[in-house]
Subunit: 151 residues, 2 copies
């Protein structure tokens, strides 16, 4: 994506939509991520996962969240100053599985210019990660710090 | 932690508190995580980070969130069926930095037994990750699926 496509606060409107590229979850990476950050049996090993509440190997929700961020940063949300989140709401309506092909669709739902800092604002973005069957697997509504175009 | 310390829904009360072990953020891992999941200059390289909004290298918020999960899974929240999150709210009031020593303090804020599934309930847990100066760097209020003690 060229610099011309990078968006500032001035360029954004409520209702504007963005679609990311895609990412394939791999079993080996699911297990490695879990071993480091979320070492629970249903994220680590197929046999244990089969008899768990997930009924099969499932990625850590935090792995899914991290992959969503990768997709947003790599063109899924082309903000000129990057993607700087203050916080938000998350949900995992379904697990992500080995072999899933994931992408993220985002929509701007609110734009609040800062009163005290005229060069910036808070933009609320609702992102939905979908699998290859168009099932939502991860929802993120994030408040992002976005800068105005430099004078 | 022995199996005797593992808690079921029956063992939990609103106001109950838990404290995790600690974890030191390292610059090399901050950069590696960012290269894979959040490749933005302020997470990747000191010089670029110095002139960014973060004024120095900062971990990806998703790296911070993943480390919090590690601390919760490794004894910070000793639920017998593991830590299975449905979703929640997150915030990053301050960045985490190389060398920060982090731990998580959690409190049970709500317990809602399931009406349709008597063997489980939803427990809302408010977790705060603090750095070595007792500054909150990450807040997570999560809805977790917790099972009753088997008969």
């Amino acid at each position: 994506m060229s610099e011309l496509d990078q968006l500032y606060l001035d360029d954004l409107d409520v209702g504007q939509r963005f679609t990311s590229g895609s990412y394939v979850m791999e079993a080996a990476r699911i297990k490695e991520f879990a071993a480091e950050f979320d070492p629970q049996p249903f994220h680590l090993e197929e046999a244990a996962a089969e008899v768990s509440i997930f009924k099969g190997l499932a990625a850590s929700g935090w792995h899914t969240a991290a992959v969503a961020m990768r997709l947003l940063v790599n063109g899924g949300l082309p903000f000129a100053n990057g993607i700087v989140g203050l916080g938000g709401e998350i949900a995992w309506p379904k697990p992500t599985r080995p072999g899933d092909t994931l992408h993220v669709e985002s929509e701007i739902v609110e734009i609040t210019p800062s009163r005290s800092k005229p060069q910036q604002g808070i933009v609320t973005v609702r992102s939905t990660m979908l699998n290859q069957s168009a099932e939502p697997v991860y929802l993120l509504t994030a408040k992002l710090l976005v800068l105005r175009r430099p004078m």
